[in-house]
Symmetry: C2
Subunit: 632 residues, 2 copies
């Protein structure tokens, strides 16, 4: 049970109000203290983004202290300017400033990524958070709308937007820039946290940005550039931009992981930067903390402030167990590519999270890293397919089903075959928050012409499904993958997948429990066991196909029991449940149906918390079965 170290708000306030040194010196000390809390918040949450919180924190602290006047007028008074982070995954750093300054309840520092606490990415339902971000590239556009509203209402204040550098690969940024220049939105200052490393590796390896200053200048913006950790230089640069009637951008050269020596280094012998996301182990935490507190103590000594801290005991993190679909996918794709030279994999800066590491090493010539540019990626896949290749496109389900939807639709009209693979599908993990919790992805893809949507439950299904999609279906497909490892609690039958046919895992005569994916099936299986104890005979069926159905097989499922309960890790509209219920209605079946699905915006929190909140846990399923029986 490690003890985590936090800095209380009084120390932050003492630093800022010490009156010693320049505002920039005090802001830098403040930022180092904020790094301590950020580190411990991520450690307590068990996940979160340290590297880019640290690269941004000097500027974020300086903005809140000098431009937003975070200590001005009490914790409820309006801030003097607007700031938000477009990249969003630096939320722990921002929270550390807001809790330190008591703009947020300081106790919230211990509730990162917990239900009712601070979500993994920014959400406006948290006080002083100005925009929901984390889905990249939207911040400049959002700020343009805010400025238009402010002007119409005869008020207005400066708006500062922080972006990542990898984030600039998103086309929306460049869509947004020209209009801001044309409309003379001088209120707007964008700061690019140019730490040169995106999720997995160097920006220049993923999709080099070229001459950023020339780009912004060509789009009509005032441009400045400086060391983003030299706050004197930052202050001068931003003052220059503020004086310019054009919208301004500061390209701030920063260091990812800034403040902890070993987090500032890109491993010389490695392909990947290790501190983009995730919590460190206990030993690494201790070493990072020691560096941060040593440096902060020295800075605070200059300001005559003592570094008080307090400790919080946190439980050891249980090691993850269970199968991972993403790993099975990666292995299946490698195996397929070995005997199928037409297979090309495309990735949107999520190599590690989409299972493509091995593929990218084994088949570098057939691996296209597209960067954070999903529209470009999907249309490139269209071009590859038109010329006879079999492109397999990877991203998180949220991004792949949202950003490039019109590109997917256009590809679908060309009669080619493209496999889209969305990982991190569904409502868990609940930590990252709704920008990363894909619960409308099936609705997007299931409506696309001649495109099969499939969600496997067990790793063993994945390889035969890939072959099925490539060899037996003429059109395209969307493969929906949940990411957490799952212990299903039951053995998987060695059936060969068939299109439109699910897997009956156990028979039952009172109720048929139907769902897709390991999260849901684990709950259904446990619910069935619970129902056994109540004398209710529950069948459990995994139905991976969300928009195709073997009607004869399905008739057998619904005829087996008078009550059909469909549970899905997706909103009610457009998912597997709506499809099955629609098809059931067309059969004229006379049973009773219940549909449990995700309603409302996905909550951010622990996985169990989130499943329970959204009524997808064992208890909710058992209760739904009981309600269905009592109302018959």
């Amino acid at each position: 049970m490690p003890t985590l170290t936090f800095v209380p708000p009084e120390v932050f306030e003492s630093v800022w109000t010490s009156g010693k040194g320049s505002p920039e010196t005090r802001a830098a000390a403040f930022a180092d203290l904020a790094r301590v809390n950020t580190l411990s918040m991520v450690m307590q949450a068990g996940s979160g983004h340290l590297g880019s919180s640290f690269s941004a924190l000097d500027i974020v602290s300086w903005l809140y202290l000098t431009r937003l006047d975070v200590y001005g007028g009490g914790s409820a008074a309006p801030l003097a300017a607007t700031f938000f982070s477009s990249k969003g995954h630096d939320a722990p750093g921002v929270y550390s400033v807001l809790t330190a300054s008591r703009r947020l309840d300081p106790a919230l520092v211990h509730s990162l990524r917990r239900l009712g606490g601070l979500p993994g990415h920014p959400d406006v339902h948290t006080a002083w958070v100005e925009a929901n971000t984390g889905s990249l590239g939207m911040g400049i556009s959002k700020a343009k709308g805010m400025i238009a509203a402010d002007r119409l209402q005869g008020r207005g204040q400066p708006i500062y937007v922080m972006t990542g550098d990898g984030e600039l690969q998103e086309g929306q940024n460049w869509e947004a820039l020209q209009g801001a220049a044309n409309r003379g939105l001088g209120e707007l200052t964008v700061i690019v946290d140019h730490n040169k490393i995106q999720s997995d590796t160097w920006v220049r390896r993923v999709s080099d940005l070229g001459d950023l200053e020339a780009k912004f200048a060509a789009f009509g913006w005032a441009v400045a550039r400086c060391d983003g950790h030299d706050l004197t230089a930052v202050a001068a640069a931003i003052e220059g931009l503020e004086a310019d009637p054009r919208p301004g951008v500061l390209v701030a050269d920063t260091v990812k992981g800034r403040g902890v020596s070993f987090m500032e280094e890109f491993p010389a012998d490695g392909d990947f930067y290790p501190f983009h996301s995730g919590a460190p182990d206990v030993d690494t935490y201790g070493r990072a903390l020691a560096e941060l507190t040593t440096r902060a103590s020295a800075l605070l000594a200059d300001l005559d402030v003592e570094l008080d801290t307090y400790g919080i005991e946190t439980p050891d993190r249980a090691p993850a167990t269970g199968g991972k679909l993403v790993d099975a996918w990666g292995a299946a794709l490698v195996a397929r590519a070995q005997r199928d030279e037409k297979v090309v994999a495309l990735d949107g800066d999520l190599l590690l999270d989409t299972g493509l590491t091995e593929f990218s090493r084994r088949f570098p010539e057939r691996f296209i890293e597209c960067g954070i540019a999903e529209q470009d990626m999907v249309s490139q896949a269209g071009g590859l397919a038109l010329r006879g290749m079999r492109p397999v496109v990877h991203s998180f389900a949220s991004f792949l089903s949202g950003r490039p939807h019109e590109q997917v639709l256009t590809n679908s009209t060309e009669g080619t075959k493209i496999i889209y693979v969305g990982s991190l599908a569904g409502i868990v993990p609940g930590g990252p928050g709704h920008s990363h919790q894909a619960v409308t992805d099936v609705a997007s893809f299931a409506a696309v012409h001649d495109l099969l949507v499939v969600e496997p439950t067990h790793p063993d299904e994945v390889a035969p499904m890939l072959d099925l999609l490539l060899d037996e279906h003429a059109g395209s497909a969307y493969v929906r993958l949940t990411s957490p490892p799952v212990d299903l609690g039951f053995a998987w039958p060695a059936d060969t997948p068939r299109i439109g046919v699910g897997t009956v895992l156990r028979a039952g005569t009172d109720v048929s429990l139907v769902g897709a994916g390991p999260i849901v099936l684990r709950e259904l299986w446990a619910a069935a066991a619970d129902l056994d104890g109540r004398g209710i005979s529950a069948g459990v069926v995994a139905m991976p196909w969300a928009n195709s159905l073997d009607e004869q097989w399905w008739q057998g499922v619904i005829d087996a029991a008078p009550h059909l309960v469909i549970v899905e890790n997706h909103v009610p509209a457009g998912g597997v449940g709506s499809h099955l219920l629609m098809r059931t209605a067309l059969t004229g079946w006379h049973g009773r149906s219940t549909h449990l699905a995700v309603r409302g915006v996905p909550a951010s929190g622990g996985n169990d918390e989130v499943l329970q909140r959204h009524g997808l846990d064992v208890r909710s399923i058992v209760e739904a079965v009981a309600r269905g029986r009592s109302s018959r």
Copy 2:
């Protein structure tokens, strides 16, 4: 009954093979002949894009003649290079070249926008068309994928992609450019048809592009610029780009409507360019034709080629009658804005087609023209709403439901209210082709948190619906508008709209016919009359709400008759039918259901042809009712 003039393929071939003059001179003469056929094609079709076909045709002709070697090796031989138009709406011009050169059957010149003929935007199922375009900004990405495939397969040829200039407002272009430079895709040459006018008006008025050459250079491309109608200059510029190892772009300064004096002029006293889309009237056609043939005759005389032509009689176009939802929407929005100062309208370069002309004149300060940048538009709306305004976002349904889908989703998590309005929804008009036929838009929007989807049928519904959405629903909404004027054939009852409740237009005891929107309701009403004659009593219900339902009202509808037939102008998945059938299944209703919806890629053709092809016409509905009865 006007007679249309066409130039036969022999004349084109004689021009190119005359051996007189330079290739550039002959290509220019060829292009002028192609303008004659393009003009007559659009006239025969009754719609199509003249202005940008004409601005592009000199370069398009030159590319096909010199780079693709369209006359080389017979009409089935591979072309020497790849060309496609990313903007896509210049398809008539491209078709005129392909039919002139006999790469396409010359008879197809008379089948523009007809079923089985040449679709309004490019489709790969037409010979020699390389990519489906028309949904803007995808061309450069597509070409990148083609080049990757060509390289992997050890073959390769130059690829030329034509873009519009307004099209460059789409962020995907800028997403695509950097990767092409980083990967050294020297095979790729992009030509910007820089005619300075987008759909409605000057590019500089909509969203000025700034210094285009500097932009492309900043993204790492080789850049050239010249007069796009001076083919000697074009040839030199493209040769220079081809010799450069970088991907190259030619910014070609062109004139929209080039070749017809009065189509080259932007009306001095007008706000809008009149020849972007649509067929001219008979008199205008005659004047344009006279100019083109006079000039072509002179050019051909220099080449010792005689200008033979042939005539095709075409029926007079019937004037459109019936109500237009888009006009009603525009009027309702103006009325609302007069008493509600929070209303702000946003447009994506479709002012005339979304009914916003009057609004933009009356409330210029509350009208934001975003250009062809839907992602930026939707996120701006998010920013406006966060600051207390009521943004109303307009585009075509295809574009609004596709391109900015992740932005819509993100906005939905912020708890604000935004009204999205998609016009040109559904399968008709059938002329433009599938890029403009929105049949998955409801599926996209209906899954969004707290967002109501509504499709009015009658213009009288529109204003009260707008008030309902703004005043009685806390969340956002998507208003789906079909664009063609429709004579419904029945009077509209003066009911006040209520959320989740439809309008029973007539009662019936044998079958309930349910649908949304004027196209479907016109067919349902006529089908009910037909069924009367067969002794079948059919109720007709307009159900505008695609994801909300008053269960008591619905129970009344389904209990009225034992057969429920839902007809929808949308794919089966995720639309009003899937919602109603899902909800019906959950009631345990014991009747029989039938679902007619759009299956397959929407066909391009005349409106009646398309409705019949997709089984949404009166006869298909009557047959479905009869089948349902016989199988009971």
